[in-house]
Symmetry: C2
Amino acid sequence: MLLWHNEFMDLKRIATFVTVAELQSFTEAAARLHTVQPAISRQVQQLEQEVGAPLLWRTKRTVRTTAAGAIFLLRAKELLARAGEIREEAQRANRGEVGRLAIGYLGSATSPFLPDLVQRYRRQYPGVKVTVAEMTPTEQIQAFEKGAIDVGFTRPVDRHQRSRFQELRIYEDQLKVAVSASDRRASRRSLALRELASEPFVLFERALAPGLIDLALSACQRAGFSPQVAGESPLMQTVLVMVAAGMGVSLVPGCVRHLGVNGISLLDFTPKAASVDLVMIWPKTHIPPTVQEFEGLVKGQLPAVRQQMTPPGPR
Amino acid sequence: MLLWHNEFMDLKRIATFVTVAELQSFTEAAARLHTVQPAISRQVQQLEQEVGAPLLWRTKRTVRTTAAGAIFLLRAKELLARAGEIREEAQRANRGEVGRLAIGYLGSATSPFLPDLVQRYRRQYPGVKVTVAEMTPTEQIQAFEKGAIDVGFTRPVDRHQRSRFQELRIYEDQLKVAVSASDRRASRRSLALRELASEPFVLFERALAPGLIDLALSACQRAGFSPQVAGESPLMQTVLVMVAAGMGVSLVPGCVRHLGVNGISLLDFTPKAASVDLVMIWPKTHIPPTVQEFEGLVKGQLPAVRQQMTPPGPR
DNA sequence: TATCAGTAATGCTGCTTTGGCATAATGAAT
DNA sequence: ATTCATTATGCCAAAGCAGCATTACTGATA
């Protein structure tokens, strides 16, 4: 490697040349750069080697740029400025001020509060490209694999995946029995789950939200029966409409009341089932700064969100 | 200076990072860059220090860019490409392939051949911005001072300036006596200069071309008289028109025959005066490559130019 | 004309940085 | 659990670089 000149120009040497060219003096440039004149001389010499052209025309009294030096001076200043810019940009990306934040969300459980969260975040980080996409829990896991989303609002992931994701509980919801408004029990506050043992059930498709459906099934199990599934749908709205139409009863999270489907009644039941949480999840590995910042904002908004998602009347 | 991190990012380290990011491997990057893996590790570490943000997310199995690294990778590649481009541009400037060539010229002595020279040059060096401006010899000297022109086609400069300029003789011309076509001597081939001792003279303004006029005056001096100047003009055409109008005789370079002024006759005279040369001059200090290349082209064209500027008929 | 003053280049030295080797640490896959 | 692949770290020698002293040169000045 002896005497083997580098393939690349050195930005420091370029900056030195710019200073010399603008001050038209090696000595003054040395003072400006807090070093000594011979260092400047050699830096410029090396840069001329690297560039492959003389850049400065020296007399003992004055220093001028050559033709090559003049054009190089112009371009070098641009290059140095650009170098500074890209460093700034990387730092902004590292602070989560630029970049992207792709959000997957569960429409039925987030519609009341998510738009506000997103709006607050976009105001605070206008440089971040935010996208939102409604997805079922299963679709969100797949989207994480493909890198299509950065955070997801969903149900708690199963034991298998738990180690790969970080979770933030947003709010706690309760399973409710959904019956048609024309059902004879529609006006009751509560019922025993085993009263439904022989009723037809309409459920959300298990493959798309196994956590939720398994919770419902285990509730029936504990009540001593296995529900007779008369219908399934990949859309929560459709489930509710089928219930309203009297095609069966269902077990759904209380938050579906925000979906605005008429003709149904949501009842508490005994024995009480475990609560069904809404969580925000994101992969533990390689957490982008945008996600970190979003997490902080969400945490700050948690009280407001929880108040918003708490049923207004008597529970 | 111990542990004092440089203000500038190092292009070599940036290139190393790009290689690592694209190959997604430190080890492979080391092989590609003909060095060893620890060197790569430390270069990337240093670059991350310089940038002020983590750029790569390392596991033992794979290497990925962080959010900051992803945007930095994109920009860094542009920066490296740009750095290469500006080096190329400086080299082209050094070879005279880009830049400028500002030409000052003496219209009366160059009009037959200069357009062709300029055209040839522009074809060979299309990247050079060529400008031409008609100027008297004195104006050319001033234009050189201001850096307004790079080469000049003019008369030989005086002793005082000679050391500052390089000269290339283009062609050799002879002083002629100009008389009106209606003059009784108009059809003669030659006359003795002293025949004009008592005639009125019309001359080009001395201040604008001292070399030429001093040559004419010294010719008269040697013929034993001092001409009686009846008129002066800063335009050679005007001088000739005044001669044609019979306002006087003049002493002019033979090349004025190309100006296309009618009604005059150009005669040889005795005693023969020193020849009046047309030269190309340019400052000795800081000769731009464009000028060097132009000089080469002009030298190659000299025979053609001289043939073109030689009077066709008997001399 | 000779001296002087100011500037860039060069020789040299010691410190800093960097590359290369050996090895440790770590995580994934079998 | 073990092994393999990969990156990080400790160490050393070589190279690069800054700083000092000095030289060489030129334009200005007396």
